[in-house]
Amino acid sequence: MGCDNILSDTFIKIRDLHFSRGDREIFSGVSLDIPTGKITAIMGPSGTGKTTLLRMLGGQLQPSQGTVEVEGLDIASLNRKDLYKARRRMGMLFQSGALLTDLSVFENIAFPIREHYNFRESMVRDLVLLKLELVGLRGAHALMPAELSGGMQRRVSLARAIILDPVLMMYDEPFTGLDPVTLGTIVTLIKELNQSLGITSVLVSHDIHETFSIADYVCILSEGKVMAAGAPQELMESKSEFVQQFVQGKPDGPMPFHFPAGSLSNDLLGSKLEKGQHLS
């Protein structure tokens, strides 16, 4: 099953993806299409490898099997030079903001420009200030990352991610740990970027309410496979128990509340425990 009944153009094609970390198999045959110019959300329980998927889109990790094609290019097979060229068309917003701590806000945003191009200083200034204006932090351009709140850091990170006008934006848990006001700001910015600039956006998140409010398509991953996919409305009305548990946030259901264990009466009343012995 996959999100492959989409009518618009496909920006990213993932086919039969397999990936393991150590003994744990993270993906065991994931296939999905990410449509161009839309906001696609990848969701799922903690630890299902959502961030790992983003890393694979960016070529930081290689699949053990299967292909990841971005704009028709097989990312895993690119050599270093071509991979770096492909990455210039992508922007990624990291969960922690990941600003360079020894550079000011202005320098952080200017970083990609300075590394790749040789623009006149006045042009760099204009580009940076424009993007800062977009995220509402133009006045903060001289501050250092340590002086910013978490929400502000994330907005600066966003400005930095879009400075070279990427065609693909990836957001790694953009809503986590923010206060309601900043949350609303980020949600609005993501939507605006997608609508006004037509940037294909891939969003990884746990947050049902915020994500469903802006996503065009949602894919839910669990246990290494795609469990459900479709527009938010479709998923809300889905008959699947799993989807209902996830979407409504019910503590118990197909995803059990209890970690596998023996019977409670055995543990409490069974063999007498010595002092210091652990329950096994």
Binding site: Q60, K85, G91, F94, S96, A98, F111, P112, E115, H116
Partner: protein, 252 residues
């Protein structure tokens, strides 16, 4: 089990060597963007000056003191200059500078890189199509490689001079014989240059270990702390081991 440990060690060493190779390839970027190098020379070299100068002064003085006390029994105190100079130039200068450097600058490098890894700064750089090895690691490597020999030279010079202050000015060894015996027995090519070669080798190894540990640290606070400790410990072992090797090659 020993087999697994040995294989892991060899694999580690292989990874570290590939890492080193990539760093060295970044040499031309470092030349083109010398401002990065200068910034690192400051943080790695200039900021280590305090501890180097301080240590050199006291080591020189103690050496002179102990040397005098021993030599005076043989009536050979006029050789004090030779003792102080040769000890510092051949051995104490390079080795102590390297150990102090590893503790002060090496651990700082490891912590800095480890922290950048833990806060995803390195990953974000990769996603911006900037190679973190060329941008962050290479300048620090060459800064360390250049700084340690310079610091060692300062250690030697300051140590000898402070040895002179204690030996001659305080303890009364004849100034003339202090310097003239030293000058005839200390060979420029055999001693000073060899000591310098040692410090270049140490600079190479200490910086390499520090950067590698940081780059491969587990991205948690415990991981970074462990990496920092490892960096200092491994550097110390490497310096002392290589010192024995080099001393045997150079002074036998």
């Amino acid at each position: 089990m020993i087999g697994a440990f040995a294989i892991n060690t060899v694999a580690s060493f292989g990874r570290a060597s590939i890492f080193l190779f990539q760093i060295i390839l970044g040499f031309k970027d470092v030349i083109l963007r010398s401002s990065l190098l200068i910034k690192e020379l400051y943080s790695v070299g200039v900021l280590s000056l305090l501890i180097i100068v301080f240590s050199a002064t006291f080591v020189g003085m103690v050496l002179s003191l102990l040397g005098y006390v021993t030599l005076v029994d043989f009536g050979a105190e006029s050789s004090l200059g030779v003792l102080v100079a040769l000890s510092l130039i051949r051995e104490l200068g390079p080795v102590l500078s390297a150990l102090l450097f590893s503790g002060r600058a090496g651990s700082a490098l490891t912590a800095e890189i480890g922290l950048m890894k833990a806060t995803e700064q390195l990953a974000s750089m990769e996603m911006m199509a900037v190679d973190p090895i060329r941008r962050i690691i290479s300048p620090r490597f060459f800064a360390g490689l250049i700084s340690l020999p310079l610091l060692t030279l300062l250690f030697m010079g300051i140590g000898i001079y402070s040895g002179y202050m204690v030996g001659s000015v305080w303890l009364g060894v004849d100034e003339g014989s202090f310097w003239s015996q030293m000058q005839s027995k200390v060979d420029f090519r055999g001693d000073v240059v060899n000591g310098l070669i040692k410090s270049v080798v140490f600079g190479f190894v200490v910086t390499w270990i520090a950067l590698y540990q940081g780059y491969n640290a587990y991205p948690t606070s415990e991981g970074v702390s462990r990496a920092t400790t490892n960096s200092v410990v491994y550097s110390a072992l490497a310096v002392l081991g290589l010192d024995f090797l080099l001393t045997a090659l150079m002074f036998m």
